[in-house]
């Protein structure tokens, strides 16, 4: 095992060992080298390290294949080298988290030239050489956020603010489009008015805070709520609302269920944060890669249009974290993804929920 002293801790190492010991019979049926490559953009973000990567590796091992996971530290040229190196090891299938969507096209083309099936992971690669795209359905994130506002408030008529992420970014564009899918009939009838909608470069929380601040000023604080593409900007919105004593009365949505958002949800300042099951995402990609490596056909439930190319999308479940299910969420994803002890540290007793004491 000297070859793979990279990212394995002892527990993963033992699990890998057990799985490897159990698989010689299955491995023999694999047509090629029995390796499946995963070219990631980074290991530094907790999500990748604690959810995507281990669940991918576990599922690949369980199927009798050997995972080879590399990361390019956000360097596109390095990622191309990683892909070349994985191909020259003769992987049977390849998963790529493209650092840059369009730069992934030639990586997919190279793999296709070798007859290696490619899965785009998390970020789309607009290429006909893609066998599958595993990602969340961003539109669904937007639709469920808007629907949750209706379910929470009943009548949502009034003035609303939308904080979108980086312009041109697929996540920002699609989540935002999801809001409009639900809101458009009410906008058309005049019940709902979007008084402010801005894109924030770098998903900057401070610039979102200023947007909400200005919207409050311009509308004499009569804002029903703020839809935010992510939790950083939701935090900015909460800060602006708090300054006007409106935190807790206006509806706020976000995405990623971060430590900051969980705290705001517990304190009632943020209503929800959408969370994608990244562990399920890793497992889904691994299972697809294994099937493709065995030469089986996979059918996607949806198609996704990326840069004029329709690619087969395998959507991964997302759900809204609210005060109602946050305890359950923390049970599953702390401390791997967020740290519950940080969330409840110093939290006023009135906001505590049964089941959270254990983290104190």
């Amino acid at each position: 095992m000297i070859k793979r002293f990279s990212g394995l801790n002892r527990r993963e190492f033992l699990a890998a060992g057990t799985a490897l010991a159990a698989l010689p019979a299955i491995k023999a049926t694999a047509q090629g080298t029995g390796r499946i490559g995963f070219a990631m953009e980074t290991f530094t973000v907790p999500r990748w390290r604690n959810l995507d990567k281990p669940s991918f590796e576990e599922a690949v091992l369980a199927a009798g294949f050997e995972p080879v996971v590399v990361q390019a530290n956000f360097d596109v040229a390095q990622q191309l080298r990683d892909v070349e190196n994985l191909l020259s090891q003769g992987v049977d299938a390849l998963c790529i988290v493209p650092i840059d969507s369009n730069s992934g096209i030639n990586m997919a083309r190279r793999a296709a030239r070798e007859g290696v099936p490619v899965i785009a992971y998390n970020t789309a690669i607009p290429s006909p050489d893609i066998s599958a795209f595993v990602s969340r359905d961003n539109g669904n994130v937007g639709r469920t956020a808007a629907q949750a506002a209706i379910d929470t408030l009943g009548d949502i008529s009034g003035k609303w603010v939308i904080c979108s992420g980086q312009a041109g970014n697929a996540v920002a564009e699609e989540v935002t489009a999801g809001y409009f899918e639900v809101l458009q009939p009410m906008i058309d009838s005049g019940a709902v008015e979007i008084v402010s909608h801005e894109y924030h470069s770098g998903w900057d929380p401070e610039s979102a805070r200023q947007q909400v601040e200005n919207a409050l000023t311009a509308n004499a604080n009569e804002i029903r709520g703020v839809f935010c593409n992510n939790d950083g900007m939701a935090g900015g919105a909460v800060a602006a609302l708090e300054a006007q004593g409106l935190a807790g009365t206006a509806f706020v949505s976000g995405q990623d269920a971060t430590t900051e958002a969980c705290r705001n949800i517990l304190e009632g300042k943020q209503n929800l944060s959408s969370f994608t099951r990244f562990d399920v995402m890793g497992r889904t990609a691994a299972e697809l890669a294994v099937a493709l490596a065995r030469g089986e056909a996979v059918t996607a439930p949806m198609t996704y249009s990326a840069g004029g190319e329709d690619i087969p999308l395998h959507p991964v479940e997302d759900f809204n974290v609210t005060r109602n299910n946050i305890v359950e969420y923390l049970e599953q994803y702390s401390p791997g993804y967020v740290d519950a002890s940080v969330i409840v540290a110093g939290l006023a007793d009135e906001f505590m929920l049964p089941g959270l004491e254990a983290y104190r």
Binding site: V68, N73, V76, A77, D82, S88, R109, R110
Partner: protein, 396 residues
Amino acid sequence: MTDLTQSTQDVRAKDMRRTSLASSRRDLRLVLLLGVTVVVWLAFHFIFTDGFVLTPRNLSTLSVQMTVTAILAMGMTMLLIAREIDLSAGAVMALVMVLVFQFQITLGLSATSTVLLALAAGAVVGLLHGALRVWLLIPSFIITLAGFSWLRGVAYIIPDGQTLAGASDGFYRISNSEVPPIASAALIVLVAVPLVGRAGFRMLSTGEKPTLTRVMEVIQFALLLAFALGAAWAFYNHRGLPYPTLLLGVLAFGLHWLMQNTDFGRHVYAVGGNPEAAKRVGINVRLIVVLLFVFMGILTGFAAVVQASLLDAAPPGIGELLALNAISAAIIGGTNLFGGQGSIPGAVAGALLMASISNGLSLAGVNTFYQMVATGLILLAAVGVDSFTRRHEMRM
């Protein structure tokens, strides 16, 4: 007068290199570097991976993976020899790549015009840097540090932060195709026969020579032969010689010849050895410096063409640390950061060693973070060895 004597020595450095013990010492450095590279290959092939390294396919891939750094390292070496530096190489490359895709997609130009315009764009940036250097007398560190920022900014502005992808087939083929295997093998034999032959003759020639020189001649002959046979084997068995590797070879031969056999080359060493003296013996130091920056620009243009075709996309953020990698490769290859010393083969060997370590660790599935540690340690080791031998020589 002492200055003048020293510069004459520098000007005649090439003749001395060929005859003296010092020449053997310099060759020793290069041989050591290639030796370490071979050890790295063997270690990764037999110990750390299941024999992935020394395959025709991986050696072909490796030869392409090193090209961008190697091309820039050659330009950097020439600049460093003359006591100049270019911190903006990565930004210039990104800018030229962005322009390449504008030429290809927005303007629909042919591959040939695209390449020529890319080289011209690189040359223009180089000319600008050189002009600022010699007329405003701003240190090149500052000029190119500014370029590191503003040129990168322009690279983002032109495509509005977007990555364009999908060049014409002609342009795509530049980095994604190969000279046919038979022709590749023939080409390698054609180039290798005179080189290996000359080394062989030198090895067999009698006459009074220090022991070190004798040993070096044998090792050089063996290494040249091994690399030639290895290259012929690898490229013949995997699709043929990739065009980026061929380009690197042509550029390396050309620049090595330029530095060793022309007045320009001798003057570059003289300027770096002692700029004052160089000026006094009538060398046009300003012209030399401007030309060096233009060379660097053109080489960056070549690197951009290779990288753009390889990726078939132009992400404006590419190559943040490329200039530093090129400087590392140059220094590992024996270039003195304070001028006067360095060689083109050294720069290529430095880039090859860095690429080999990165390739080996990547094949072994080791995290990129360890690759960064390894590169840093190699750099320290290379400079450490130099420093040690120099102190040792001084004491003698």
